[in-house]
Symmetry: C2
Subunit: 206 residues, 2 copies
Amino acid sequence: MRIITISREFSSGGRELGKRLADELGFDYYDSEIITAIAKNSGLNKNYIEETLDGHGWKNFPISYRSTIGSSTYLDSNKVHLLLEQKKVIEEIGKLGNDCVIVGRNADIILGEYNPLNIFVCANMNAKIKRFMRYTQDGEQLCEKELIRKIKLIDKNRIKTREILTNSPWGQPEAYHLTVNTSDWTIKELAPSIANFANLFFGREK
Amino acid sequence: MRIITISREFSSGGRELGKRLADELGFDYYDSEIITAIAKNSGLNKNYIEETLDGHGWKNFPISYRSTIGSSTYLDSNKVHLLLEQKKVIEEIGKLGNDCVIVGRNADIILGEYNPLNIFVCANMNAKIKRFMRYTQDGEQLCEKELIRKIKLIDKNRIKTREILTNSPWGQPEAYHLTVNTSDWTIKELAPSIANFANLFFGREK
């Protein structure tokens, strides 16, 4: 079984890279399926789960609840519960034994026993702003300063979420096999070379 | 002209990767040639130049001169002079216009105008210790703690050297196109996939 995990800075193109890699390699791709499974197991609304876990929803992103409390040790109990549910779902995906790509959700740690190829995707702030403006309507209503603040906040949220599950740092190159900066080219141009990298990685001597 | 620059943590295999990439791609490879040119231009001894610029010589590595002075603003004037000589040599290489690979020496910054592919090579500490033990005799005389301290010191030296020339941070993924962690495979296995990445990078739309 070959697993690729993609961790990524918000708006760096990690999700698109994950999808394209899965297409190129013929691997399963897991993303919203994970939220659907958590919803089924827990009886909770998908939107609520996504919002609580990822803070992805732009308009409703709960930026204040940490900064007002201001403590890195504060843990939202609903979030911790859902993180453990998500962990179970990802462990089940591992047990299925299919080649797959999983974007985010600390799958690199949760599926570590299967020796996944772990990729981190980043970009410089200008590129992330451009990407965000291209793919959403909401960004247009925000000034650049506000946009930068929100992009940084989502990544801070990911760092905090990772800390609930592992000591392995988020975004540090030593924690991944490959860290890709998408600023200077499109994901479409980039994906075939990462697919080639993956093929060589999985084919190497062990 | 296609230029690949390799920045790297000490003992991560960056130099070997640079050589192998140059071989795979048929590019020129610049390393000791740069020191030879500085020696010719300045009339100074090659060993002295290398030692002053890189602190590579293991036994004679001047670990104390910074830590005793303890100031990040302290700059050795010989070192600054040689850094500028080195910069000139690298600029001359750029003007030659040949496809090439340059390892270290802040070539990513010095040759920035030519839009090089900038790669950073890292590895976890265990892998760096193993690599060091494999390639030198000196490591055997040092306990692991001492070895770790020295490996970290060489990288600290590189960070300080970079600060003399640029604000661009050393080792931060946003400053490079690709950051490769060599811990889990050999450079020989890795090189073809990076060569493929380079071909796609240089062939992309601009």
